[in-house]
Structure formats: C-alpha cells, structure tokens
Assembly symmetry: C2
C-alpha cells in the first residue's frame, strides 16, 4: 500500500457487491491507489447513522484485481470511520469517493442518503470527498455515460482540493440522456410525501412499508433538480455546518420569559 | 384529539420509556394537546436514517395519563413520518419537539443525532420544530433545571413560528451549573476522533466497538460549545439546505476536462 500515487478511499451504501461501486473502483484505479471499505449489505437510507449499540466487523475480501478491499457490518459512516482509524492507521487518504449510488441523491435526499453521509464523514475527517449517484435504481443500471465525468471530477478535486468543510454531491441523469455537461448547482427545495403501504401479517397485526413520492417545491433554474431534468450532471458543493446563520438576528430579538416553577 | 389547544408531536431517540421524554411530555402538557410517537427502543446515533428494507410497526401504548402515545419499531425520522401520515392523518401538528436527549447534541453531533434528525424531519414537513438535549448521558439524569426553559422556548415558537426551512437545536448544561440564560449560537466546528476498541470474540475473531473523543476545532465565542461551557442554554437555528453556497463561484472557475474513452 506504500506508493507515491494518490491514496483513494472508495465507499458506498448499496453494499460492496453493487455494480455501482465496481465502476467507481475502475475509474479511480486510473487516478491512484484504491482501498475499498464498504458495507457487507445494503445500507440505503441510513443517513448519517453510526453503530454504537453493537460491535462492528471488518473483514478483508478479494473481489477485484489489485484492490485492497474490506467489508464492514456497519453503516456507510462506520465504514469511513473504520477506514480512517483501522485500515489507513495514520496515513490519510487524498480522496474519499462514495457511490456510484443506484438512485439519485439530489435535493433533500442528501439527508437520507448513506452515500452522501459517507462523503460528508470523509469531509469531516478532512479528506476531499465526493458522492456520486445515478438516476437509476436498478441493479443492472448503465453507468458507462458517467465514467468520464467521474474520472474528470475526481481528478479536479485531487488537483485543486476543496474549500475547508465542503464536499461535492454529484448526480447523473440516466442513460436516456445525451449528457450536456456539468452544472454547479444548489440543493433544490423539496420533500418526500409519504404513502405508507399498510398490510396485515399472517397473525392479523398491521405493519407498514415506507413509500412515497418526491415533491419538488423549488422551481429555481440554479438547482440540481433543474440541471438533471435538462440532461446536465449536477454538482452541488455541500457543507456540514447546519447553522441557519440568517436566522440568528431574528432569534436574538425574541424575549424568552422563563417561568419560575 | 379534537381540540382548540395547540397540537404537539413529541418524539425522541432514546426510546419511549426514557426519562427525558417524560419530562418533555409533562412540560408540553402545559402548552397543548400532546401526541407521542417514539421508538420502541434506543435509537441514538441513527442520524437521519429511514427504514426502507423492512416494514415498520406502530402500536398504541398507555404510559402516562391523558397522553395519546404510540411506539414505533423504526428510527426517529420514521416516527415523524408515521406520525404525520398515519397518526394525525391530515391534521398538522402546531409543534414538533424531540428529546429531551440524554446527552449533548451540540456542534457536529447534530449530524449523528436521532433527536435532532427527528426535529429536522418535522421542519421538512413544515412543522415548527425543536430538538432538546442535556449534557448528561445517564439514565437518572436530572432534567429539572431544563423544565422552565423548555416550556418558554416552546411557547415562543408556538407564538412566533420559525422562519421557513429552519428549526432550533437547544442544548442544556448539566445540573452542576447555575443556568445563566439563553444564548443564540452557531454550531461549533469540531469532530469525533475515533478510538475503536478491538476485542476477540469467543471464536477468536476480532470485532470493534466504536468509541471516541470529541475534539473542538473552533474557539469562537459565538458557538454552542462556548455557551454551554459558560453555563448558558445554547439555541442554534438549524437548516437542512446543506448547499455550501459560498463555494459555488470557485467551482464555476474550474475547467472540467472530460476524457473520451
């Protein structure tokens, strides 16, 4: 593992056997030395969850030639923490890339996404980090149109670094589009409107499957949703300071009346 | 449940039997009609995770007088989604409060915290939302000094609302402090430095417990960490737009060279 080439950590949330991470590994092998630490099974929708109530497993696996790979029993964020602390042991990766996710992580999905949370954790650790996602949930999604963009964006980040406390959220239209290029965007406003699917188990007790529809609440032409709808690769610079700085003055004008009781 | 009093959703991440949520329920009963939807067990560190790979249970329970309560098998964010969609069924709560968490959720902990993620989800749903947390992890933590502040802050939010797409992250010093009042703050910069505790199972295989120490990387006097260290209740306005808007101009100056292959 000792080399002069950049050291690149690859992680995802669909699990270490997902086709999307294989594409990402292949593209990163053009740019540096690749180490993979990825979940041993699907961890979609895990957001920034970490595992604190039970222990974690980390096991070496051999799936692809010339790649050091580990599967982890925890969440995507656990993978990054274990990579930094146990796999690299002091040597800091030059880049952390997450994905390529089978499914979009634009707009509000940045919060729910294990793919993006792994990249956020990389950025918290001070590693230039990028999350990649494709607008195709299927197992046999076609990632080929993403490849040159993935490599180019990662190469730019390796060359330029990223401003402190920021990372990139990159989303691709599916292969029905002729890609129009890259657009730097902001996260579109929107939310999921839930429609829980209620069923009865064989014992007559009800249970619920979480489903829903994404509802766009932002028609801005500078958003990731707009870029993707028009065939562009969306790149949203993302941060983990969640302070609503613009709200501080208003709150300072409130008078908090503290009851005595 | 039909009433003219404000309708208040109470949620947490320590689970429905935690002492902290009991305190929150009691204080909210002074302000309105309380409905609780909380996890059936501990969900600390679950961040913004949602449950998509397995179904959810939602069961009515009776723990405290005059409170409609449901326990949920999912994450804190699942609880809010089920509350909005299945429990309230069209009637929108006037307030969503989460906690009181046994343990701080200041600084970077806002990302890992199920307590805060539940409040974030409330805000995404358009409900004025507040997360409350105490600097004491213990089961028998003393919440009494928090009570008047919890009630005052919630009353203010019921009265004023909150700016669109924002919520409040409220943290309390433990009961060794004489509280100095409320400070409106920003999220302090900092991160967890992991120290995985490596052990051998009875079969000789290694496993890891996630532990770590919080490392403050921000000496600002306007941060939540600083306020708490000086005996103040910290109130951080929080948002779920994670765009690093200030980074957009720099990225627009990059030239992405897309390889043909």
């Amino acid at each position: 593992m000792i080399t002069d080439r950049p050291l690149i950590l690859v992680v995802n949330d669909d699990g270490i056997t997902a086709p999307g991470i294989k594409v990402l590994i292949e593209e990163m092998q053009h740019l540096g030395e690749v180490v993979v630490v990825a979940p041993d099974g699907p961890q979609s929708g895990m957001g920034h969850a970490i595992t604190i109530g039970k222990p974690l497993r980390l096991d070496k696996v051999e799936l692809y030639p010339d790649v050091e790979m580990y599967k982890c029993s925890g969440t995507p964020v656990d993978c990054v923490k274990l990579a930094v602390n146990r796999v690299f042991k002091g040597r800091k990766p030059d880049l952390c890339v997450s994905g390529i996710n089978h499914g979009l992580n634009n707009s509000i999905n940045v919060l729910y996404s294990g793919t993006m949370s792994a990249a956020v954790e990389g950025a918290i650790e001070g590693i230039p980090s990028i999350g990649f996602s494709l607008d195709d949930f299927s197992y046999d999604a076609n990632f080929n149109h993403c490849r040159p963009y993935v490599r180019s964006i990662a190469a730019q980040v390796l060359q330029n670094g990223l401003p402190k406390h920021s990372l990139l959220n990159v989303n691709f239209p599916n292969d029905s589009f002729d890609l129009q290029g890259i657009k730097i965007c902001r996260q579109a406003g929107g939310r999921w409107v839930e429609e829980f699917d209620e069923r009865l188990d064989p014992h007559g007790r009800d249970y619920f499957w979480l489903t829903g529809k994404f509802q766009l609440e932002d028609r801005g032409e500078d958003t990731d949703v707009h870029a993707l709808q028009h065939g562009y690769v969306s790149v949203v610079p993302t941060q983990f300071d969640m302070t609503a700085h613009h709200v501080i003055p208003e709150l300072n004008s409130w008078s908090f009346d503290i009851p005595n009781d």
